[in-house]
């Protein structure tokens, strides 16, 4: 096992942020649903929080790859940088095409 280089550390930080956001949003949605379930009311806000969780993933994960590609551009690793940009473009294409 080798110590991660700087771009990998940047990517790891973004993933850690996404992970914390995931825990907070999922726990929030779970509590709202749970309370709504016990009280017998329709907890629509829980659905909104969950949708937010899914959307965060769909934005932050490609963004993490894009930031990584940008860092690789600064380090003049053209091959890896272009791979990152192409993957981000495929993502945007998939999102636009639905």
């Amino acid at each position: 096992m080798t110590a991660p280089d700087q771009p990998t550390q940047v990517l790891a930080r973004i993933y850690q942020f996404v992970w914390v956001a995931t825990i907070v949003l999922l726990a929030g949605a779970g509590i709202v649903y749970g309370i709504g379930h016990i009280a017998g009311i329709n907890a629509n806000i829980g659905a909104y929080i969950t949708q937010l969780f899914v959307q965060i993933y769909l934005v932050l994960v490609p963004m993490a790859i894009f930031v990584f590609a940008a860092v690789m551009t600064l380090r003049r690793d053209w091959k890896l940088a272009s791979t990152g940009y192409v993957l981000t473009l495929i993502w945007i294409g998939a999102k636009l095409l639905g």
Binding site: Y15, H37, I49
Partner: protein
Amino acid sequence: MTANLPLMFALCTAVGVLSSLIGVGGGILLVPIFTLLFKVPLLQALALSLCCVLATSVTSSAKYLSRGLVDIRAALSLEITTLIFSYIGGRAVSWIPTRVLAFAFAAILAISAVALIKPRKEIVSSSGPSKHGYLLAMLASSVARSMVGLLGIGGGIVLVPVLQFSLRKTIKEAVATSTFMLGTSAAVALIPYISRNNVPFAFVPFAALGTVTGAYIGSRLFHKIESLYIKILFAAAMLYTAYSMVIKGLSQ
């Protein structure tokens, strides 16, 4: 909402631990759990499973990235070619009867499982791919993933052996890289389900939180568990998938 949500959370936690340890998405276990046990319609179960795969991948990848276990170069390169060629390959293999495909895939998985646990010279540190390693890995993962798309299972079960044998990665590096790649694939795969409103948002917090908890436990254990046990666990998962494929082939 009548499902037993604490039970869903507990089962997803167990799947999350296993997925994180062996680098698979867990869809092959999650989809039957959601459809058979919780009576979630198939399309919604697939979407729910993808949400869980995403959650598992991000949780484990955050840990694996910070430990330098993920080969990002290999992950990004393979991801692009796989996305493109699995679409082309998916169309090319669609003329093969599903029964033949299922049996062929089961045989490949069983042989790979035996090869994985067969005593041989251990790869203790990544020695870099051979001359045609990347090409072989791209080809193998593209063909295999176009097959698995038709058979309705995820890519982790294929990716780990491909990374290990073609790119000469240790089992832990292969598992970590596969986990990272699964998240990016699942994010793309989830988009059509969201567009068609097929995501059962009421279940997502409990199922995904379960797999997140499991993946966190798994990624902590991963560091402490011997590579041999991870290989045995992975070989068992491959044999189980092979068995599922035989059953699927027989039912066609």
